[in-house]
Amino acid sequence: DAGVTQSPTHLIKTRGQHVTLRCSPISGHKSVSWYQQVLGQGPQFIFQYYEKEERGRGNFPDRFSARQFPNYSSELNVNALLLGDSALYLCASSLGVGTSGYNEQFFGPGTRLTVL
């Protein structure tokens, strides 16, 4: 089975532009989370979507938005790009938000965004 896939692998944008990053979860997984990993730091939580609804949001400005589609794939959108948005953007999928027990999150390889 394919793992979590993300596209594109690398992306170069200029300040003020808009970017869309894409994530396809593992087949059968209904939850997708997005993380930003700045160079030399640990990943920071941006969003989680489950069954097309937002289930969690991190401390990021409104320039960041996301959505989940009926096939459970997801897009992360960032408007008005800043130099500080340069980072590795990771997507993780899981079976879903558990009311009991734990669902392991599986990470994709990430999209490297460079803002010039």
Partner: protein, 116 residues
């Protein structure tokens, strides 16, 4: 808010030897999950080991084991018989119990180098 601290930015170990990576965290929750993730240069984040806070027994996965001290809020990772393939960034992470967001809170990471 939960915080995770990894005080060792870099560590090195000789092949076949044992190394311990440190992690402390801060939370007011009584039940939660703790994780160690490995991120090799390929960027793919891989789960190494998981510990549920309500379990007193320390988790083990082959050559990887943890020392979980709940009262001290400490969660260290021991890698036995280190292999060259263990070279990677290691991140300690915290998650509240399921039922809401599956947000992972990561530390800044420890860069581990295994030398031949």
């Amino acid at each position: 808010a939960q915080t995770v601290t990894q005080s060792q930015p870099e560590m090195s170990v000789q092949e076949a030897e044992t190394v311990t990576l440190s992690c402390t965290y801060d939370t007011s929750e009584n039940n939660y999950y703790l994780f160690w993730y490995k991120q090799p240069p390929s960027r793919q984040m891989i789960l190494v080991i998981r510990q549920e806070a309500y379990k007193q027994q320390n988790a083990t996965e082959n050559r990887f084991s943890v020392n979980f001290q709940k009262a001290a809020k400490s969660f260290s990772l021991k890698i036995s018989d280190s292999q060259l393939g263990d070279t990677a960034m290691y991140f300690c992470a915290f998650m509240k119990p399921p039922g809401g967001s599956e947000k992972l809170v990561f530390g800044k990471g420890t860069k581990l180098t295994v030398n031949p």
